[in-house]
Symmetry: C2
Subunit: 341 residues, 2 copies
């Protein structure tokens, strides 16, 4: 029997899962064995965090933000049978341009990994005379071809939707400045060909009645198609006297016009509380970059970076999170409109 | 007899002109009756500056940055027989979207006006949840249709080239932050249709051995096609203990690959010295937005905003300025490369 609230997608029975702990009140609960990737996980790599995973040929593949022992981040591939125990490659992903020439980013961080039709796309923050969005494609995880950078600098948190909408590819991003940006809303852009981008729209504002997302917000994992709209996990940032604090939020965007926010929780759904979230290279960071989900059961595993040091996992179900977002909805600024001005 | 260095374009014998004053050493000299637009030029408008002009049907048309007496800038149309005495309309330009609905920018400043084939394009800094580039077209200066904003925020100083290059429209811009940006280089983007933009490239860096352009640079008038390449006038900014100082510079970009800088003067070609440049709403600003030129004689009139208060004019010839830029050339960072990283 079909449920009222469901994921539009495929079944993934071998994804990681733990039931909600008895007595736990929040809509999102942590994996009991977090973090799943610890410090110094691979020779020459001191920390892995803010990383993306996907199902691939019966097992799992990941693109990992690997902070080398010289402190500069690059993207490394990893493989897993259970999506919890990862074998990560020692060498960075080798990127080539469309003419087949090596085209390695000077640095690369916060990757997302999204399958559209038969192709996987990696989206990351790249150096383009300042922080901007990098984009590459692969079908076999052996050959990686960089496409044109979608946008001018400065930008971060590029997130592709997992299918075309009204015939166009759609990407979220968070326009920024060239530093530790003290502002930022989520925007959306369309492309007929992944080469030229336009029809830019404002999607969601920082702010709201709470303070946890009052400095900036940025898209997280690729949105999940549900019966209620696109389920978007995102990060929201607040400022303290000692720096930023990154929490996780959730919103539901209109299926056909995803620049319209249908619902948006006024509360964070996960905030730094555990030792691996509170303390690390950057304290107090919970930063979601990927999900695995099973349309059959509605189970969702959220992969998030913790304290710029670890990879962790949290769980929810589509019913639980969608109901929570609807129940705690608040309208912020003109989120509901097609943000064009 | 064709000269060695010449403008590729049309003749414009009725453009304003004054010969270089005897004994004057610089490559650019001021109009003797500057400023040509003074304070309180029109009822309800306190200052006009940073504005663009073009030849149209035997006379001249202009799009003016008009600071209303409530301090917010809008774009007003103006007309002139001699391009020096201007009659400026009291009401802002009425913009409509592509569906015919009114679509007025909340604010609009620093317009450029560029003719491509039979259409005039207005490019300006518009409010798109922060400063970004607005774009509109007209063929009759009665109906003005806004096109999609080319880029995500934050951006300023959008400058269209006056013809397609390798089949695409080409626009310069200066990615920025949401405030009084303390950094900025010139980038270039291409579009097949003025709707979707991509193939973003870095063109020119701030900096160089001099200090006049060490904070940021931004494109000025639409580049002029010459035998040596695209002649680009631009503004360069330095910082002092009391604020920014805006001077004018010049560069020559490769005709077929305009993201490559062929030559670039190490010196400013005009800097605030006269009373109307030194003192006003914003002191010490020389900000070029438009040119008129005559391909027959090689004469160029540069329209520039002075101290965010006045419109002024300066003159040069294509031979004089191109030779000067070549003689005072310096290579900055990787200006010479196709800036892709």
């Amino acid at each position: 029997m079909k449920k009222d609230i469901y994921i539009v997608g495929e079944s993934l029975p071998n994804m990681p899962w733990e039931d909600k702990p008895e007595g736990f009140e929040g809509p999102v609960w942590r994996h009991s064995q977090n973090p799943i990737i610890n410090r110094n996980p691979v020779k020459g790599i001191s920390r892995i965090f803010n990383s993306a995973v996907a199902p691939y040929e019966g097992k799992f593949v990941g693109v990992f933000r690997a902070e080398t022992i010289n402190g500069r981040p690059h993207l490394h591939l990893g493989w897993s049978e259970d999506a919890l125990n990862w074998k990560i490659e020692e060498e960075p992903i080798p990127f080539f341009d469309e003419d087949g020439k090596p085209f390695q980013p000077l640095y690369a961080y916060d990757p997302r990994l999204v399958k559209i039709e038969d192709t996987f796309y990696i989206i990351w923050c790249t150096d383009f005379y300042g922080a901007s969005i990098g984009l590459a494609k692969t079908t076999d995880f052996k050959s990686f071809i960089r496409l044109e950078n979608p946008f001018l600098p400065f930008n971060r948190n590029g997130v592709l939707f997992p299918r075309k909408i009204n015939g166009n590819y759609v990407m979220l991003s968070r326009p920024s400045d060239s530093g530790h940006t003290p502002f930022g809303d989520i925007f959306l852009s369309e492309s007929p060909d992944l080469k030229y981008w336009g029809k830019h729209r404002h999607v969601m504002s920082k702010g709201g009645q709470g303070w946890w997302q009052n400095v900036k917000i940025g898209g997280g994992p690729a949105p999940i198609e549900t019966s209620e709209g696109w389920l978007l996990f995102y990060h929201g940032v607040t400022g303290t006297c000692n720096g930023f604090v990154y929490s996780m939020g959730a919103a539901i965007l209109d299926l056909d016009e995803p620049s319209k926010v249908k619902y948006r929780s006024r509360n964070f759904i996960l905030t730094p509380e555990e030792w691996y979230e509170e303390k690390g290279f950057v304290d107090n960071v919970v930063f979601p970059c990927a999900t695995l989900y099973d349309a059959e059961t509605g189970r969702i595993a959220i992969y998030y970076g913790a304290a710029d040091t670890y990879v962790s996992v949290a769980y929810t179900t589509v019913e639980e999170i969608v109901n929570y977002v609807k129940e705690t909805h608040e309208e912020v600024a003109d989120d509901k409109e097609v943000g064009r001005l």
